[in-house]
Symmetry: C2
Subunit: 647 residues, 2 copies
Amino acid sequence: MLSGKKRVLIENIQPQVDDGLYPAKRTVGERVDVTAAIFGDGHDHIRGEVLYKKQGAEAWMRVALTPTYNDEWHAAFYVLEKGNYVFTVQAWIDHFETWYDGFKKKALAKVDVTVELTEGVLLLKQLGKTNTLLLSVARKLEDKNQDTAINYVLSEDFARIVHENPLRENVTRSEKEYVIQVEHNKANFSAWYEFFPRSSSFEAGKHGTFKDCIRLLPRIAAMGFDVLYFPPIHPIGKVNRKGKNNNVNSQPGEPGSPWAIGSDEGGHKSILPALGTLEDFKHLVSEAKKVGIDIAMDIAFQCAPDHPYVKDHPDWFKQRPDGSIQYAENPPKKYQDIYPFNFESDDWKNLWEELKSVFIYWIDQGVKIFRIDNPHTKPIPFWQWVIAEVQKKHPDIIFLSEAFTRPKIMASLAKVGFTQSYTYFTWRVSKQELTEYMNDLVFGQSRNYFRPNFWPNTPDILPYHLQHQGENVFILRYALAATLSSNYGVYGPPYEFGENSPIEGKEEYYNSEKYEVRHYDWKRTNRLTDIMSLLNKARKENKALQSTWNLQFCPIENSQLIAYLKATDDLANIILVIVNLDPNNTQHGYVQLPKATLRLGEKINVKLHDLVTDEHFTWTQEWNYVHLNPHKMPFHLFKLEVHESNM
Amino acid sequence: MLSGKKRVLIENIQPQVDDGLYPAKRTVGERVDVTAAIFGDGHDHIRGEVLYKKQGAEAWMRVALTPTYNDEWHAAFYVLEKGNYVFTVQAWIDHFETWYDGFKKKALAKVDVTVELTEGVLLLKQLGKTNTLLLSVARKLEDKNQDTAINYVLSEDFARIVHENPLRENVTRSEKEYVIQVEHNKANFSAWYEFFPRSSSFEAGKHGTFKDCIRLLPRIAAMGFDVLYFPPIHPIGKVNRKGKNNNVNSQPGEPGSPWAIGSDEGGHKSILPALGTLEDFKHLVSEAKKVGIDIAMDIAFQCAPDHPYVKDHPDWFKQRPDGSIQYAENPPKKYQDIYPFNFESDDWKNLWEELKSVFIYWIDQGVKIFRIDNPHTKPIPFWQWVIAEVQKKHPDIIFLSEAFTRPKIMASLAKVGFTQSYTYFTWRVSKQELTEYMNDLVFGQSRNYFRPNFWPNTPDILPYHLQHQGENVFILRYALAATLSSNYGVYGPPYEFGENSPIEGKEEYYNSEKYEVRHYDWKRTNRLTDIMSLLNKARKENKALQSTWNLQFCPIENSQLIAYLKATDDLANIILVIVNLDPNNTQHGYVQLPKATLRLGEKINVKLHDLVTDEHFTWTQEWNYVHLNPHKMPFHLFKLEVHESNM
């Protein structure tokens, strides 16, 4: 039988994901805002607190909850170490506070409080059992002169005593403890540059190598990127190899798609000989590390027909009645260069273990980041298992989910463990689309598990709004990606150099690098290269840009202008971004400073420094005029200084 | 280790309350709409089904889920018996359906399907293990003439075979089973008439008795009510008894408030002698039953200072340091005629048992409905326990929660077991307020546990909009209560007779019947009496008005006119209500018929019969002109006949 004395109920504790089925995610140093519905019967005062600790620790830390509105309560704490935290909520009727509140009202109404003073003494003596200082407080309530006693209870001193001495009796504690998975900062803050290592040669017509990639590192580091992401580097299938522009019949000498993995040269644990050796790769990884860059490896769990797995483990693939192996298809289309794994194989346990060993193999070579190709075409329970297995020993490994698919599936992959996820940002173009999407990401339930990584383009996607367009739209989309989301990336060379030719009618690159080796003039830089570099520099130097979760849109009276503030909790770093979404015309309008967030008083004096154009402004009004000529610069990246005198 | 072959995930199963912590509520015959998010990897076809049964039964019943949008699925079933049902959801990749879909696309694209036919044979043989008829189907796919085989697979016959033969392999089943508490119909459909039995005398100046109440039964039955609700009928405290208009000093002979329960004449299991004997009460209960009326008893768990409990169980009350017992207070106000129970008493178990025995005692006298006074001032866990305890033996007992308090507390009381609940309807006046509130109640999460009972007034509440107003506003508020909610009630005599005098500035009756005996001329009826009777008659004769959950608002182009449709699932009964919220002026506007709901075609021919005014109309347009003169009748209560030819 339950204890009948517990009169408080606790509901809807946040943050949690699917009622605790999955952990909520944070990174080191992030704030955890805990909310819960807490209520009881009658008018007695309720107090509540969050208990939290590192998972496995003995002692709980406490932080008091305070009511906000409608029986919702709030508390916040910071997670300062990597690893899992647990938290729960407890609350109780506090008879000391209830008594104190009643006493004040009665005393102020000049009602006789003789008995109430005695009640106060008894409560203080009860509290005195654990805090003996309160016994002397109790004695003051027994003062012969009742007015002295009353005035003491009405004093600020006494208010502080009540505040600091909760009387925990008949405490209701949530039956559940919720887990917060705290990861290292890079899970939340990273800038990715993608290119095909085979296109890394400085000489036209030559197949690039890892050695060429090492020569490119200073260029990428100078641009400020900290993740260098390669499409698959494994041997490419020779059977049914695709040719230029996805031609089903390749010409001799064509390199094929890196995603058609495996040949007689090896499979997922091998390297395409044309790129170099394992030693070359490890050297690249360590050279990159020296300039602050992690190599991200593309993991595509699928096989070319000549992948060693096909011969060694035919039971990992679907056999057709005619003895052939089932290739990928989207009926009536056939993709005969790709064999998908059959995850319903009777030998699924060995398949899972082998795929896990692929991660472990590359981790042992120094890889710390994996970009997972099409995870939504492999079972979600597999990802849940394999990510947990890998992170058990290697908790710092980052998994990026390349799932451009339906919302619930993208969400589920993030819930079960993916560190970061590709998003719909690629297709969110208008002010309304961007605002709604960002508010969903930042303030919706998915905030607790879905870490966005924004990409304006990928080798698979040249979105319509970039097609046949000049560099202004490339710049503004890039600025949005790099400032809205603390994780972002770009399929670099074609973006930098403004490639904008699609296969007509499709969102795909014409002459896609997926099917051929390209040559880029790596010594060249241009306006976009410079802006990318400045944006990355600003991101590194401004903590406010290192989180996606501190976003606040600012009203601006023009549907082509979008404005948002990002600030650190302590307001030590404040960034205001304003982007002109119209790549062709100057747009102007008034933007509203968020006075409450910035703690601005009546006299406003805000200094603004544009970190890209190096312009300086001073704003002395709540609403301020802005105009952006996209041919000059389609966005402002303001660092704000709010003068103390206003605060 | 989990089974790696299960590739489908199931999330967010509805209906459920707090992830299954509490049952969802339905009444006999109601529809249960089950929804769930169901998805897997890749493009294989998923099938899903709801499994449901009476709790404890062996065999599950199945109903197929169908996808709606965004990976949400839906199925419905009807609960036809009282008691608890359980349901769960399962889903799987259906390789038969996946094969069939691919086959069709390939065959229509004239791709060679030789291997596909063999695959189909193998799948049919697999299904043939449980349905041998399918073996002959398989043979048709082996027809020597491949065109014959292909045409057979493309036939409607074969489509039906696929539809009717799910291939359940590697089924994912939700780990949870959710409970649906199915109660008898009165939980969902009831009309309450409240009056003070002491005011039941036909003679002015006389204290009414249960015998007088029996004389009143034909009048109440004729008006169509099926619940007669009395304020407490127990002995009234003599110590600190309140006088007229809540005067703290009563005059000798004043009757006191029925909610100050207990005196030397007895407590919660006794009857105020002036009302009659226990036998009189039981006779009243059985006479009421004969005319289809249940007596609802008011349970107020609080005591007058002279209640026998105070002497017999002083430990059930809070002792003050001076030896006195703590009276109710809202500092600095004191309510010295009421002692609340101390639910934190060390003897709480005996207190709970005693309070439970109060319910059992009155159930044994024939009472089936309890209206609980201020449940929000007693611990919510107590209600959870006592309602479950009572309903264990007496599942048909109805508990109405009189909690006019904060939303989460009202919700919680409903979750833990209250059958019906008082609502904010009493204060929802404008079209926007009513629309938002109804949409919350009907389409919000609380639909699964909170059954509203709408009251335009109570002995405690004469809302501002009824004060100093004529009968038009009484009529329109009554019509709203009786048609928006299938459970509703009225504090009858003062409403019928148009009492509209408040204590100025408060929402309370002047000369409240709570503190005095009133005399009503029970032989009198008036316009309101007639309309109340007609509304109750319409409710009884029209199934569409016997549910709160079938509400659909209809657009109407006037902010003072509100229109809503209620229809049975089979459209056998359709009611359209239109209310003029302006009691003083004729309002007119166009109302839109919901074509989709009514399955109206291009040619509209709808006959309308106003069940109150007996007017007849024919509408042949989607938008139809309506005008309502409140001095004639402030609402339409239309029964609709939709001609078959349109459907």
